[in-house]
Symmetry: D2
Subunit: 407 residues, 4 copies
């Protein structure tokens, strides 16, 4: 048992922290100003490209990709602490280092299952950071955390497949650079439960693809956007079916594990940032004759935050380590566990940080309200807490089922 990070991981942490301190945090105000001046919530502000250039020059690029041919070649447990650091400035750092969802998952999928053409047309520009992509999975009309519920129809017609259906929360689709969607749908409703689905590569400008609207998150219009997308007789050549028809569920599982580690570690980074803000404010704001930090109720919040962050981080790192050593399937319980634990923990800390900031906490003078809104979506994205708890409970209770009496 060894809780120390590898030297390579520590070296990347140092380098990334250096970049954050020197460039990312100072860019937050610039970013806010450029966005406000543009008047367009989906504007691509110059500061982003500057940060990308800087990150690239510092070798902080595509850190997520486990394959050294495409990225840093780090293991999940080596990348995880880097994702945490990025999460501290979640609107800037992931994009600056080309480590944003859903591109990270899409790049992994293209590198594993893409054709040469996909790699040339999409993977390379994604790796270069010159285009963006989106992932169209969730549907408004069904509980799509259960993949078998998916309704998007994909019907064979000659050499093509014809897509009809409606997706929403297609995150990234409104980014000005977004060029391609990976779309989950049903090619064979009569197949076995996990062989019905397929994933297809669809250019965003394909005829029949309509971006209906952006979905706000609380009151926020996110820059990359969460699109509702209608597919009306969209034709997709058979070559653009990833890994062959019927592989959709399998691909989904493959991208799932790493994605959750990234999300959860970023959530932990947000929690650390929120705790930092809480401590700063509590140390400087005076009420009833002393700093808030001198009040034991606020001090308790600080202590509880520290305890809960440490525990959640360890569980997330262990899930990453299990993925690295025994694989996603064996890490199933831990992966489900962090998906529940991390956002809830972070929300609690952010909420308390808001409370310490008073009116400033709910406005945009601090990043807290936005953090809260976006962390709140994480309790739903990729399945609500309840679905993940169900997974864990079934695993746990399964051991007692031999008596034939259990659920």
């Amino acid at each position: 048992m060894d809780f120390a990070f590898s030297p390579r991981c520590l070296e990347f942490q140092d380098r990334l922290v250096g970049f954050m301190d020197a460039h990312v945090y100072p860019a937050e105000a610039t970013y806010a100003q450029q966005m406000a001046e543009s008047g367009d919530p989906h504007f691509d502000p110059p500061i982003i490209e500057e940060l990308k250039a800087e990150a690239k020059s510092r070798g902080l690029w595509n850190l997520f990709h486990p394959n050294p041919q495409y990225g840093a070649g780090l293991t999940n447990s080596e990348y995880a602490p880097l994702a945490e650091i990025m999460g501290r400035s979640a609107g800037l750092a992931p994009e600056a280092t080309n480590c944003s969802a859903p591109d990270t998952g899409n790049m992994e999928v293209f590198s594993l299952f893409g054709t040469d053409e996909h790699k040339e047309r999409y993977l390379q520009p994604l790796l270069d950071g010159t285009i963006r992509s989106a992932f169209a999975m969730t549907e408004p009309d069904v509980a799509s955390s259960d993949a078998t519920n998916i309704q998007m129809s994909m019907v064979r017609d000659g050499d093509d497949w014809v897509l009809n259906g409606r997706k929403w929360w297609t995150s990234g689709a409104l980014h000005p650079n977004c060029k391609v969607l990976i779309v989950m749908g049903k090619t064979d409703p009569d197949a076995a439960a996990h062989a019905q689905q397929s994933m297809m590569v669809v250019p965003i400008d394909a005829p029949g693809v309509q971006l209906v609207r952006n979905l706000p998150v609380f009151g926020y219009q996110d820059r990359e956007g969460h699109a509702e997308v209608v597919f009306e007789n969209v034709r997709v050549p058979d070559a653009d079916v990833l890994a062959g028809a019927g592989s959709g569920f399998m691909i989904g599982q493959a991208r799932l594990g790493p994605g959750r580690i990234h999300h959860c570690m970023r959530a932990i980074g947000m929690a650390e940032r929120a705790l930092e803000l809480l401590c700063e404010r509590a140390s400087s704001r005076v009420a009833f004759g002393k700093p808030l930090a001198a009040q034991a109720n606020i001090a308790d919040w600080v202590a509880e935050a520290r305890i809960e962050i440490e525990m959640t981080r360890l569980l997330t790192l262990k899930a990453a380590w299990l993925m690295d050593t025994v694989g996603n399937k064996q890490a199933r319980t831990e992966i489900a566990a962090i998906k529940v634990a991390a956002p809830n923990m972070a929300l609690k800390i952010v909420d308390r940080a808001i409370q310490v900031h008073g009116g400033g906490g709910v406005s945009d003078d601090f990043p807290l309200a936005s953090m809260y809104a976006h962390l709140r979506t994480l309790r739903l994205a990729d399945g609500p807490d309840e679905v993940h708890k169900r997974t864990i409970a079934r695993q746990e209770l399964g051991r007692y089922r031999k008596t034939g009496k259990s659920a």
Copy 2:
């Protein structure tokens, strides 16, 4: 002991519910559309004026005012259940019935402490619903829940007072019809703690009053606005000092109690609406082969919501009844208690309703995310939870202090 509402109160409840069902709920979509089309977050959409006319014609106007000369002449405990009903559509119903904060408090203040000129120039048009008003109390630089911290300077100069300072969360100031501010400041920093403050009447277009910006709430740009306002050498004639210099704290206390009842009852109305949405969604959404409502964890949420709503409503009604029978001062503990209990209870229920709605819950397809954001501010507005708990604890622990050992 009698938990039944008075016949007059029941009659008003019926009438108000009739108005809500026939006009307010159906107007929600119209309102959203008119606001979206205007492109201006502070637009005054025609539907509002239509609702106001309808409410007036139904005798549902100025229900809040305890003085029958100015309004319905209801007691606090009679008006409270009406505020709850309005809270179910908090963006429309209070304004439609001319019962919006901060106008309600301002109208009470004008009717109690205003000069004839104030009554003619501000009170009457406010009662008529032709103008709006704002209340400038909170300051960005201090913990202003402690009135003694207020920094806004009010210095005598001849027959005038000269105001300098910065306020924020001046709610209502960005409403297109807003004409007047009631401003809290310090006229005598050397007086006894509660005689330092004064409230003055300041036209919104007075020279030196600058609306610097609107403060968003979790990304929302509220129509009435939460302004940051700078006062630079604003001159106020002595006649516009309400109840004479040094009365600011006293006036604040007077408006405080009823305002909290209104806020808390509206929060309870939001909780009821959220529970209704939760139940509807849970009854119609199917996952894992049955409606969500058939899952015991979701059913537990429903039961807990019902229990907590009932308890919080009773405490709020009791606080109102105490104000009616023994006065604000004797109801101090209860008034502080509901300010903590109601928003926290409502937030919990809204959060669970969001969870049941999945992605829809955090977007604007349902009123839940907006409810959450605005209820969250209620844990800070008019003092954070912690200040109210402190009040209650001091009251409780005071009984044990005779031993000379307590806090």
Copy 3:
């Protein structure tokens, strides 16, 4: 709406508080000493009979009985605050005033459904406080909160019924004065669900009745005892079937409502006592240079306790008032709600009081650990929380079922 108690209720409160102050609280130490010296957990210490005599002489006797022929003739909402006061010293006051469970319920049942012989042989001595009784409902082998699960067999044989089965948590059966059991069982397993059960009157010394053991509560051996009782071919004459065979469920429902009010109000009394102890200790114990009460985390506990006690009391009083005005059935949701709310609230406060008392809190130097243990059973007695929440949720969700989609 009127939250004031009736003059009669206030007069009884005063009188009861006088008795508590003058006799009950001072008797707690005596009681503990007499019990310890006896070496017998089921000993009947002399102090109890002294308190009973004193209470009787003060007209504080059988306060619970709604029928003035048998007791004080108070309504549920008038008796409720008296039960709260008794709960403050729950090991002494209820027995001292002849208001202990399960005798209260049994006396109500005898007065409503007993024969003349029952009234003479059991009801009168119970009213006089010369004997005690027990209620045998719960069974170890089934989830008996669902009355249809009950397994105790009651088979007709000539003029008698023959009882076979096992009960546990038959509270009161080990009291030295216990003379009679009211036993719930099944007379007709083939009847409609709620007509299968009957209640029968069984002398504790009837042949075939075996008190197998006492069940401890945590480590406490309660004086009145919680017996496991085996019934082996116990013969009961048909005259001792209360209200005729098949009436068991109906009788159960009748005793249910008032019993819950009593339990919940006593729980609130315990919470008040615990809060009092917490405040006293926090005001006198010094750590880190000041009394614990001066620490904001402890002060928050005090405030939260005050808020939660007030809310729970109001809900319980409303449930009592509904029972008085519209009947148990219409008060179903509220009766279920308080059964969940009151013990959980009280446990939280007692737990925090323990925390403030340090090691003393978990020992018997203060009544807190015992309160905790006994309040904890209340979350199970008469159905676990989950069953009551289920009742509430079904009621609430029923309104949405018209769509045919709900649970």
Copy 4:
């Protein structure tokens, strides 16, 4: 980063689990019976000596001792998972393997700071399991979690020290084999805060040592006992002052870290046992037509338990690893964190297991009520949660103090 246990640790785990399965769990019923039959809560039942012999023969003896001269020579992080396994049967396994508190701490202290005579007279028989010992630190009259509050007076008189004072929660002192106490007191009230205290070795039969009474824990009379002990002019030769006068605080710190790891890991073992019982009961008990485990609220409890156990275990293991690698002082925050996290987590799970067991859960038919009671003391023993949170918060907030504004 490597979450795998060392081969040696895994080997010990296997061996210990084998012993638990073959001997310890089956002995639980025997133990209960022998204790009940003895009628003496402090009886030493034969089964204990049988288990000790068996454990010794299996090489499962003194596993806790880090020095291979005295025990297994395991690191803290190697021993921790063994303590967890022992915690699953906390009344038997630690004593069976000679790993019970407070002997473990006392043996460490004797081996580090004892004289040759101490080693011969006390350490060796303790290592052999032929005697037991106690640790007298806590005092009834002060908040003794702050060592500077300690009042026990130790005054030099010739070659002796004379002890006067009152201790309580001197755990182990009522074990029939207890021969010696290590006593903390003040030798120099005028010295610097952490040089005032000394620890002395006092035979339990020294003149002037009086065991006043045993303190029950939620009604339980523990076998080893929690004694209140009065010291009246107890004379202690200077040779029995451990490490010289003034070293008390230093010795306390040294024993502190490992002790907390042991306590917390045992708490985690109890949580695992409780979860196991919960799952078994929920899988076999049927209500409303299906096993409890098929109800989503109960399944959520299972999932939450699994998540929280995993997180708490990881944090405890990390604290152990930090102690092994950088020392107690550097692990200060983590050691405080687990002291808060582990008992609270375990209490929550045990409480839910009780709830699933109904009446059985609060009685002695299952180990749950006893677990609850004893885990509850752990939130107080060695300082209440609030003191540990204070430590963590001060550490965290210290980073922000440079501004001169913080607590």
